[in-house]
Amino acid sequence: MTLKFNGKKPSRRAFLQGAATMGAGLTLGGQARAADPAIAVKPWMQELGDGVDTSPYGMPSEYEAHVKRRNVEWLTADTVSSINFTPLHELDGIITPNGLCFERHHAGVARLDPREYRLMINGLVDTPMVFTLEDLMRFPRENHVYFLECAANSGMEWRGAQLNGCQFTHGMIHNVMYTGVPLRLILEEAGVRTAGKWLLPEGADASAMTRSVPLEKAMDDCLVAFKMNGEALRPEQGYPVRLVVPGWEGNMWVKWLRRIEVGDQPWHHREETSKYTDLLADGSARRFTWEMDAKSVITSPSPQAPITHGKGHTVITGVAWSGRGTIPRVDVTLDGGINWHQARMSGPSLEKSMHRFYYEFDWDGSPLLLQSRAHDSTGYVQPTKDMLRKIRGENSIYHNNGIQTWAINAEGIAENVEIS
């Protein structure tokens, strides 16, 4: 069956109508049912395929080429100091594939030669130290799955529904398994002095990214990581070494980590004063808002992933996470919050990691207002955007963890909206 579009630019609507027609032809009614042309002897059933090593580093199917990170061009002046977005609407489970993890650079991707990699520890330590990559590999290693969310995720949505697609509203996040050395062990090699209370991790890229991190966090669960999902960090994620600061805003996870200074007070550098501070309506600003609040989003259906099958059995799925623990529960509503239903959690439930939820129902084809609401292990419940605005106003850019609404129309098309 051929799908043809009229006019120059095929619209999503045209595609959906086409898809609906196709579905109808195959399944509807008992009369004049045509045999499915897909059930035939196809070329791939007869001809030999590629041998091993055709693609020594395997890539996704050519039919998945649309599953990729995307940029919102008007957001920033240039791609070297910019962000792109993880295609959440195309993913399932809890792990983000390495090549789809969103990127955020402040001076482009630094290309480090691992043989010239050095990690320096200096400041209020007994012995300032230098470690090579090989040195780091000799420390005891740990494996942990953590989400990394940019503090600005959903930041464009403070003033109202703006972008049509959960990739753009919620895609500044990824969730991978890190292999690395507890930062505590590295600091112990240098010996932190009693006066040392703060750390300043610094990147080796041309922005020389720095953030002040309290020592307690470093001694608790920070990792100096060199692998993601089992393989070396991708260049755009800080190859060969990045800092992992579980549950805290992504900007602190310094990539291309070259140095950690120990001090007795914070540094108040650019990324913790001019940026990544939350301006409130009265003109004052919160600083050091490190923890990421519990949050969730329905990834399908969503504006980039409409319902194409018509009414009947329908799967709603999404992700939830919290910087303070696990997500034991997610609620889903179909009617804009009049009635809520507990979703089904599936997959590992790990501290400060993404969780996957599902809600299946029989869709009667009438319009829906979909929302999800995360509960974390501390008892915190994801608030509405209006609850957040009441406290923070509309200028804070960062830390928008409000409930997201998708309006689904009778054709199954989803739109980003706000509701009363």
Partner: protein, 343 residues
């Protein structure tokens, strides 16, 4: 011996004595090594180097190194950061957060200019130059007079207008209890209305669902017809060199565009630059020295481009191009070959 092993051995030799940490890993850092990387500055002035610079010197340096993105008076070009103005705007609908209106500490300005600016040529400024540029930024924000000189000694005397505008994260007190109530599960509202729609604002990038759907349909349709993107036609040139040039060109992309729909950005677009007279892109404001050299007949060939890129600021003294240059001859040849593929 592999290169890696050699490097590792070298590192061990340079290492000196093994240390007394619990695991005995790593080596002691030398003071001169720490001095190279430890450049951070704190609000109390810790980390500031010796040096000084005044507003007038800062203005000249700013025009040469910063104004291409930030504008002559910190007003910004395009989407690059605004550095001056915005006083009293923090409670507005559209607050303008600048050095003067928002930044709490002067040390942040010095530290950031020193570590990350000029964009694409970081850590190239001398201490006196950073002091001068910082002084000029204070002047642009009406914090100091035009005859002000900033030095390590005067540094901590400067108070930023919004220093008191920040407070520690108080979500634990203000939000967590309120947001931890057991929520309603049924009959929670009587009616629901849509109050805002993203489609009304319509700022979602093109090539999203519609494009994806189109791709999926076309692909499902035409079994396996590989996607053919229009490729630049290249005749009698080395494809490997051009490919290498494309990589090198990443260093240029912050300011220069090439290809279809290339426009002037911080720098002029570079379509057709090889084989063309210098300074010939309409609507681009070239520096005076470049215009003068163009007047003397400078034409961009692979050779002149390579010479220019070796040391841009020596080749055209006073060029607005804030780029250190390409030291490797291969890189210069490659980027010229790459540029030659765009008409």
């Amino acid at each position: 011996m592999s290169r890696f092993l050699k490097a590792a051995l070298f590192a061990t030799l340079a290492a000196g004595t093994a240390q007394a940490g619990p695991l005995g890993l790593g080596r002691e850092a030398l003071p001169e090594e720490i001095a190279v990387w430890d450049i951070d500055v704190r609000p109390d002035g810790l980390g500031l180097p010796e040096g000084s610079g005044d507003v007038a010197t800062g203005e000249l340096l700013f025009a040469d190194n910063c104004a291409v993105c930030h504008g002559d008076f910190g007003e910004a070009v395009g989407r690059w950061p605004v550095l001056a103005g915005g006083e009293g705007s923090l409670t507005n609908d559209r607050p303008v957060k600048t050095v003067g209106s928002y930044w709490p500490y002067l040390s942040t300005v010095y530290d950031y200019v020193n570590r990350a600016m000029p964009f694409g040529y970081a850590q190239s400024l001398e201490a006196d130059e950073v002091y001068a540029i910082t002084a000029y930024l204070l002047y642009l924000n009406y914090i100091v007079d035009e005859d002000f000189e900033l030095s390590r000694d005067t540094f901590t005397q400067v108070e930023m207008p919004n220093e008191g505008g920040f407070f520690m994260d108080d979500r634990a007190e203000v939000e967590l209890t309120q947001f931890s109530a057991e929520p309603c599960m049924s009959g929670c509202k009587t009616e629901v209305k849509i109050t805002a729609r993203a489609a009304v604002i319509d700022v979602t990038p093109e090539e999203t669902a519609a494009k994806a759907a189109e791709q999926a349909a076309t692909q499902a349709d035409a079994a396996a017809a590989p996607e053919t993107e229009p490729e630049t036609e290249v005749a009698a040139v080395d494809p490997a060199l051009i490919e290498a040039g494309e990589k090198v060109f990443r260093k240029c992309k912050a300011c220069h565009q090439v290809g279809e729909e290339a426009e002037n950005g911080v720098g002029p677009h570079l379509n057709g630059v090889i084989g063309r007279a210098a300074g010939a892109v309409d609507d681009f404001r070239y520096s005076k020295p470049l215009t003068e050299m163009a007047g003397q007949g400078l034409v961009w060939t692979s050779d002149t481009m390579s010479e220019f890129l070796l040391a841009p600021r020596s080749y055209i003294k006073g060029t607005k191009m804030g780029f250190a240059g390409l030291k490797k001859e291969n890189d210069r040849a490659a980027v010229a070959a790459y540029l030659a593929t765009f008409d």
